[in-house]
Symmetry: C2
């Protein structure tokens, strides 16, 4: 039994294999609700946050109800107390029926990859192997099972309907006040007022959005990535040679979706990554992405020059049959572009990019990923794996931003997108990296131009290099901006970037930072309903509904903890002032006095002033307008 | 002895009154250096970060020296080990001679304000009073002692020369590689290649920049705020009715300047704010701003309607004679604008704004600040206090952004700017607040238009309201953007915003976040030399000079701490890989292999490839290119 094995079993001694309670417990005043679609097995999850009443002093003389607010929920069954979780069983295969019904896939006898077979039969791995009884599926001969393929045939799949309900967030139930929002500036996006299943279909058909979901990942809750939908975020997890166990990775994944990760990339590079991945996928309600070249490299003991197309191909099939939803493939790193990086400050910083560069130089040959791109497409469409075309030549420093190598590769990624689309294979494009603010827009514009509006998926970008330890922030700035300009998904960066492996707290901070960036982008684009949560929270803030203010926030626990550091008493949660200013200085309070006074007089302040009713002003002084509620 | 008093004395029992060693100890590998100007008493401080050599494997066959990097230093004498600090004595009055030389001020017998006199003679305050033997100064009758007045007369003051040296950061000593940077996009700013004393003078004369320094704050190290200079940040400190002591506030101020606060606002609202302020100013190397109306309100026991011009006037004089460098004055909150806030989600959120609104409504009269604006100018120019025209009607939520009330007030602030300038009084303009990304630019554009290019000084803005506990980030995004668009100073927001009072750690995080925002803005504007630190850090990163990477960062301690969490061994600081990828996966390493190979062959990779020298590729494989240094 190796260390990972031991860890695994140490955790699994109990009746059921439970992960930390803190990782799965529902948020305060939140409950899981489902909206049903056109058939009973389309049940779209949301988190419903219930709110307290507006006190009469802020309402029209009496307490007013505040309807609950629904928010997009990435946390899956983990936050549904009616579902019992046992990570040894994985999540329910919610989507299995939809896949079977289409009657275009077949069940295999077992893994068809050489590596998959070998791992399945290796007795040394028994203890750590996820016990999946279900066999892998693959498209029947000659069939294409990608959502893009269906979309182009005019078929609206249950997945598409599910997504439409999910994106709309049932905002029609909210008050007019909460639905009010600024007109956005969307840089030419085409965001409709209501997301219909047909709109989802047409965006996927056009290649402007992707639905990453492998037929071998039926546990997934479908989601979409595209410029005309809510901006999404990705959280990276993964062990390296130096750290972490299988259960830690599963827990990190669950933890990541709890805080709002829309997809998770498993970037493991250590031993047993096949087994780790199986555990992650079986327990993941969100799409899982990988970089298959990392594992291929493990198979040749880290010697890039010994990589072959055959090894890579077997790895793709191995992972596709496990259920990986999207593959990062660095097929744009062409031989001719590598010398363009010689004058860089920081060379090639993408791991995949540098592996391929090393291979190309060693063999003095064109990249086998580029040469075999159509072969790769054949695999992708047999399982509906989406491309995430890797930016192997992305800049690793402000100095290297927007250089010749980067944009040469981007152009090639555009050519490859067209090939993927020829095969009806879903495709998104990865982007930088490290870019000063004023050069970010060019990235988005060139990506749209070269890649035919395929979704853009960027890492940050970091807007300065001078703050190691705070690169979630240097990059959160860039992420918000590129999200506004049209980037569809933002890959998070944690505070540990460049320095070490993120722990749970780093993952949480990274995700919240990126939820902020994505949401700020939605607001700026004028995404319908985006402002509801801001409005609800601002209203709660103005009315001193402290608990509501915490609960509507992205991190209710942190907000409450911060508040309680200064005012720990329970009574302070009802206080009509806060610790920043004390009871005499609350500007919110004074604003309210202004409104109260006007309301008492039965006129708006506007009228009161316009009529020049100075006597009313005198009354106001006489009354002293001291309506503080003492705690 | 009250609580504050006790705290103070508990701290001052020792031989000298020292603040926490962690607050003052110099950063690793950093030393304080001074550049002398045209006269020996112009000595401009910098922090010089020394770097290790580039190892031969990255250099041209031998170790290469990396010259030290100079950075702007706001930390004052505290980080100069040759200066002994005793906060009971305050800092040396470095600028006293320059003020005296001008021969346009006179020493008073003592405070001329009623309140100042009262506090000075109150025996109950003896124990907590700062023991200042120096008398306050004031302009001689009919004189104007503002830097703007000198600038308009064509006089280059020592302060202006000091600032020119400080802004240039002696970048001419750096290598061409490090000086290389992207052409910026500055939205019509006029940033010269070299900041000359004459340029400083002309910007101040035009009103496009201010030098906030009161003649009664000779301890200050002069700095400038303007669109054509480095973007600055402000840190707020201050106790409230609910917390913190005098020494805590002094320590917070020193702590704030340590991490990079360019100015500090003392927003205290509790008791003894006169005495607290004196301690802060006497020990502050950076400009101190206040909001005098807070103290005026204390004098009328929190009853806004009892405020009078006489009380406010006495407060201005009281504070001006202590040495406050800029006053936030909410003179733009006019009676007619108040009703415009009635339909807001969050009313009036500026404390100063709400106090004035309450006063205006209570009396149904125009604001006494607006009516007495010229009287205020007379006081400002007698001490060289700069205006920070407060945005009392700034939005307190995304919902309220860019509304009628906000922009009506901004226009009035523009009118008041013209009046201030008529008196040669320096003036900057405060801005919001809470603004979604796409509405930020309008704020900057209207401010430039209405306020004749007077410097803009904004709080954030927060780009979404849904993340209490993370508002340093929601606002850091907005701050970076508005800094890029032309905002001259960014007021920081800490993680505790909306929730509680910041502690030291919050202050540090808030400041670093805002240093990031300001620096990202400098890079995007293409400020000369801005990229040097990024380049130096990126080079260190590429060359695995871990310690240099930490030390060049904004928070070396945090970076080191994060690195050490995963790889604590001392040897890991020399490792040519890091914990993220492990030794076999380092893309930086692979990039270096590419370069090394090319260097060995005596040709660039470009040539190697262009000549199609396949045999060289074969050699590369044979050598195995395994040059890792095992730890």
């Amino acid at each position: 039994m190796n260390t990972i094995d031991k860890n695994l079993h140490a955790k699994f001694d109990g009746e059921t294999a439970e992960i930390d309670a803190g990782t799965t417990q529902p948020f305060a005043k939140s409950r899981k609700v489902y909206i049903e679609g056109s058939r009973p097995d389309i049940r779209v999850p949301f988190r419903e946050i219930s709110l307290s009443d507006t006190p009469s002093m802020f309402g029209a003389g009496k307490d007013e109800k505040n309807p609950p607010v629904m928010v997009y929920d990435t946390s899956g069954p983990y936050t549904d107390p009616t579902i019992s979780i046992d990570i040894r069983n994985g999540l329910p295969a919610m989507r299995a029926k939809w896949i079977e019904e289409r009657n275009d896939t077949e069940q295999l006898d077992g893994p068809s990859s050489e590596f998959g077979q070998q791992r399945k039969t290796d007795p040394a791995l028994t203890a750590m192997r996820f016990n999946l009884t279900r066999k892998p599926r693959r498209a029947k001969a000659g069939m294409n099972v990608s959502q893009m393929h269906y979309a182009r045939k005019g078929i609206i799949t249950p997945e598409m309907e599910y997504i439409a309900i999910r994106e709309n967030q049932r905002r029609e139930n909210m008050s007019e006040l909460l639905q009010t929002q600024h007109k956005g500036h969307d840089f030419g996006a085409s965001i409709p007022k209501v997301i219909t299943p047909e709109f989802v279909r047409s965006e996927v058909a056009l290649g402007r959005a992707i639905i990453p979901l492998n037929i071998n990942h039926p546990e997934i809750e479908p989601m979409i990535i595209g410029r005309n939908f809510l901006v999404k975020i990705n959280a990276n997890i993964g062990n390296s040679a130096l750290g972490s166990s299988i259960t830690e990775e599963v827990e990190k994944m669950v933890w990541g979706t709890r805080w709002g990760g829309d997809t998770v990339m498993d970037l493991s590079t250590g031993k047993n990554i096949h087994e780790t991945r199986e555990w992650i996928i079986r327990n993941s309600p969100v799409p899982i992405g990988t970089v298959p070249i990392y594992q291929a490299l493990e198979k040749v003991n880290g010697k890039a020059e010994e990589l072959t197309w055959e090894i890579f191909r077997d790895t793709l099939i191995e992972q596709a049959e496990q259920g990986v939803d999207y593959f990062t493939i660095h097929a744009g790193v062409r031989l001719a572009y590598i010398p363009m990086t010689a004058k860089r400050m920081t060379g090639i910083v993408s791991r995949g990019g540098s592996i391929m560069a090393k291979w190309c130089l060693a063999h003095h040959k064109e990249s086998f990923l580029y040469e075999h791109f159509e072969d790769i497409c054949e695999i992708m469409k047999a399982y509906d794996v989406s491309f995430s075309l890797g930016d192997g030549l992305r800049p690793g420093s402000i100095y290297d931003a927007n250089d010749e190598a980067q944009f040469a590769e981007l152009k090639t990624l555009g050519e490859l997108t067209q090939i993927a689309w020829k095969h009806d294979v879903q495709c998104m494009i990865e982007g930088p990296g490290h870019v000063p603010m004023h050069l970010i827009k060019e990235n988005m514009e060139l990506q749209l131009e070269h890649c035919g509006e395929a979704p853009f998926y960027t890492l940050g970008p970091l807007t300065t290099d001078i703050a190691p330890g705070y690169d979630h922030i240097t990059s959160g700035i860039g992420a918000a901006m590129i999200g506004w300009y049209g980037c569809a998904m933002l890959c998070y960066v944690t505070p540990k970037e460049h320095l070490g492996l993120p722990d749970k707290e780093d993952v949480r901070v990274g995700i919240i930072t990126y939820k902020i960036a994505a949401h700020a982008a939605d607001l700026a684009k004028g995404h319908p309903g985006a402002q509801i949560r801001d409005n609800a929270l601002s209203k709660a803030r103005f009315e001193f509904r402290w608990e509501d203010q915490f609960n509507l926030g992205l991190d209710p626990e942190k907000a409450k903890e911060f508040h309680d550091e200064t005012l720990p008493q329970e009574g302070a949660k009802q206080a009509h002032f806060c610790s920043m200013c004390g009871p005499h200085f609350c500007s919110m309070k004074i604003s309210q006095d202004v409104r109260d006074y006007a309301a008492e007089q039965g006129v708006s302040e506007q009228e009161a002033l316009q009529k020049g009713m100075q006597e009313k002003a005198i009354e106001f002084v006489k009354k002293g307008s001291e309506v503080y509620q003492k705690v």
